[in-house]
Symmetry: C2
Subunit: 597 residues, 2 copies
Amino acid sequence: MISERELTFLLYEVFETERLLERPRYAHYSRFEFDAIVGAAMRLVTDYFAPHNHDGDACEPRFEAGAAKLIVQTGAAWKAFAEAGFLSAHWSVEEGGLGVPEVILRAALANLFAANVSTAGYPFLTIGAANLLRSFGSPEQKQRFLPAMGDGRSAGTMCLTEPGQGSALGDIRTQALVQPDGSYRIFGQKMFISGGDQDFTDNIVHMVLARIPGEPAGAKGISLFLVPKWLVNEDGARGARNDVALAGLLHKMGWHNTTSTVLSFGENGGAQGYLLGQKNHGLGHMFQLMNEARIGVGLIGASLAYRGFAESLAYARERQQGRLPSQKDPLSPQVRLVEHADVRRLLIAQKAIAEGALALCLYASTLFEDQHSHPDAQERERATLLLDVLTPVVKSWPAKYGCSSNDMAIQVLGGAGYTREYPLEQLYRDQRLNPIHEGAEAIHGLDLLGRKVAAKAGAGFKLFCQAVSADIELAQTQPELRRLASTLTEVLARLKRVSAVLIAAQPDNPNLALANATAYLDVFGCVTVAWMWLRQARVACHALAIGSTASGAEYYHGKLQTARYYIQRELPVAITQFAVLEQFERTPFDMKEEWFQ
Amino acid sequence: MISERELTFLLYEVFETERLLERPRYAHYSRFEFDAIVGAAMRLVTDYFAPHNHDGDACEPRFEAGAAKLIVQTGAAWKAFAEAGFLSAHWSVEEGGLGVPEVILRAALANLFAANVSTAGYPFLTIGAANLLRSFGSPEQKQRFLPAMGDGRSAGTMCLTEPGQGSALGDIRTQALVQPDGSYRIFGQKMFISGGDQDFTDNIVHMVLARIPGEPAGAKGISLFLVPKWLVNEDGARGARNDVALAGLLHKMGWHNTTSTVLSFGENGGAQGYLLGQKNHGLGHMFQLMNEARIGVGLIGASLAYRGFAESLAYARERQQGRLPSQKDPLSPQVRLVEHADVRRLLIAQKAIAEGALALCLYASTLFEDQHSHPDAQERERATLLLDVLTPVVKSWPAKYGCSSNDMAIQVLGGAGYTREYPLEQLYRDQRLNPIHEGAEAIHGLDLLGRKVAAKAGAGFKLFCQAVSADIELAQTQPELRRLASTLTEVLARLKRVSAVLIAAQPDNPNLALANATAYLDVFGCVTVAWMWLRQARVACHALAIGSTASGAEYYHGKLQTARYYIQRELPVAITQFAVLEQFERTPFDMKEEWFQ
């Protein structure tokens, strides 16, 4: 799990979360209560989520009589989570919540993901679906559906993908037919719907994208509908079964205990659906949920990477094997794995990824927080623009490098890591979903380079560059960090130049100008994480300068050394992508289909 | 599966396998017969191996009453393989084989690996164990055990690893106690023994490393023993059960249908073992099998990568999804995945890895062949030295990049690739073993940099550099290849320089000089594969110059483009490692254990 020390460092030393207490909205809170919330989540981990992570993987949900059956521990964990108030913890007090800040909620959830991502998937999706209802639902809709999503009687899902369309949301075909009374009936099939059915809540609220016939083609004619599994009476009591059927379960490489479903809407006359928000603005509305879910997927990637790091570190500290090159005597005692240089490389590389990704995701959560609760309107706008440009990075970087990190965790254990007696192989399988769901990697490259960096005359990107530069300037005052700061200065300048060139090339030849968008996303992400490491290093330097206890000092030395590792050793690999981008490198672009044989 | 076109290109156009027919040993063969052998293996693939790849994964071997139980298709495939004569096909005619050249046998096996690696694991191990007996067995030992390993009544295993020792073979503890009659009894436990038990052969011959008490410590006191599961009478008939017990099955992430076992020797008085070869030379003898197995693991990595490439290419050609950035009209028809630039990148990158790795492994097989059958003693010596230095690379590069290739295959399919309805996720799980077994990656880095490149005053490394230079010279005569050739010239020069520096530093500070050995292995491998691509590009250029049919030309254009891709786009990433090596980059080396918190 993610150590308390690490969360404390990121929350309070790096991102100064305590300053939230100055905002009127959080005046009733204290640091002590923030810690209590993180602690309460940790107890859920220990008592409910961690114990059945392996069982949920070994005993997959079954399709029985048209419904999904899960191991009973899943429902018990859900119930405990709901009873602890976590489903509505971040709702305002007026809504019936506790008004917990976003960044504290995310920090609390991280350990649930690390412990058991596939059971934690249900609350993760439900929180997102409820947020959509909170934002776009009419008072009547909220009154009818929201309370049950806050207390755990109802779960929520997001229904976007269809069998024939995959990542291209503009092409969805599910239809919403207007009835004489003005209500809607939904017809169509959705695929890869996580949590689309399960056996532990009274109801499930599906957030469904569909088209109303006669409306514009493509993305501009998509509307958002709330489609409950069971109809709900005005008083909130459960009514008749709606026309939503579980057509089948998909069997995946990982995330076994999160059902992945095919859902059929309207096989018997049409599923009753409620238009949420404005007609034809469904994709825009859904983007609120998607953007939230994208930060969430980043955090999941970071959490799984951290877990693999912690597990492989513990093993490497314990397990004796082999000798150092300098030990020629075969009777000399074996050393522990951590004493081998290459094992330390595998560990520091994981630390760089896991803690770098975690910092990035918690930073995104502070932006999300500022976007909603900062007292200054200009700061709210700033946070919105910055988060917009960073969202594709926050989604993609922890997912991609999380896979690589969990790969290294297996390698530290060797053969043992490949067996199911250790949790590493499951982490590796679970992690592999993250570069796929919530938009496959390439989609985010196109989003970043084709939209986000140029949006609003590049306002978000400029804010990003300013924010990085501000940290570089602070770092330059510390002699130990000068070299790292100057590396980052150069790299940032190059990112600016290459961005300008690529943006300028898009109007003339968008296909070629965007051909290497995935490489752009990668190097943008690596620069961002290097920034996160520079910031952590600065905080560590400062803490060392003002004096720490011996064991405290060791933690900070580890941060400093990892920042050096990332910027001196990993960043140079990533920046080879600059040459690819600057030259509009086109060997894959020019590869003809007929040449693949 | 690996296309006939690809095998023909590598075997006959690139590696000129037909020239083997000039050797007296192969005078009775023709190209037609070589093709018939590869074709016979392909029929085994279609009829026996491919059909149960998924079932073998879904229905893992079970431990029942002290024995391993497998799905029946496994035994049927084994029987068909044995009956087709493949277990002894490469044995000389005098030994009862067909004298099939190594490189033809390996090309034939590649498709079995691609189709069903875990069932193919049994013949793979048995062929290796039988080769050990052929090399080091006494006439009496061969007479007693070899025929059954050639006709499929007996399988074979290699028993190296023990629970307490992992990769450090010098530390094994299994004991061989001399009996009054001069025979040996074996006592100890072996772990991760692939094929250590199964239910489809009469017998299993274990090749076991053990120590005779009183002999030197470490690697110099290890002997090799043949320990049959069932004793065998002098006439070859099966006798009593030997004291070898299946202590348990290990459950793995992939390779489900290859049993991974814990074996107990000597729980009831001692397992009868036969000393194979010279006392205390066991590790040296075993290295014959290990070196063979290492080339085999490379080939498995290449084959699984190729399979993933072929499957994802087929999907990308079929599946329609989304539009190009230039298509703004939402009603314009969707394009197929292969038309998206980033999908083509994922495909050409896989092609570069899979075909580059396959070329490397078949090249290693031609060296193995020359080592044994070249009529010129100097050429045999040359092949031996070259193969020695290349073995760690052949083992490691296809395994490491094979994982990355299978990762990309999943990404092409997106959500579908993550489900078990498609074979990609199984390939990804199966592939992950390859960087672990037959020596984890780090072991091969230390082997290459700590031993192989400096061995015999660097004779093998010099031959490697000469061989690469020879191909560069040939490529330089072709205008289209000049740029690629000059890139490789520079990179090779840099590899020479950095090797000299690292070798020179070892006596003074071996721990630091070898700290980045894994990075050295990586860049050495990438240079080697770039060479393989330059050679393929030269052959393709030549074929295009002399004129090909239109469809033939497309194949060669694909080879040329992929060579460009690899050398212009992938190689620059790899050579960032040179800076790490030249600077003795030491952030992981200097990371203190206490700093990990």
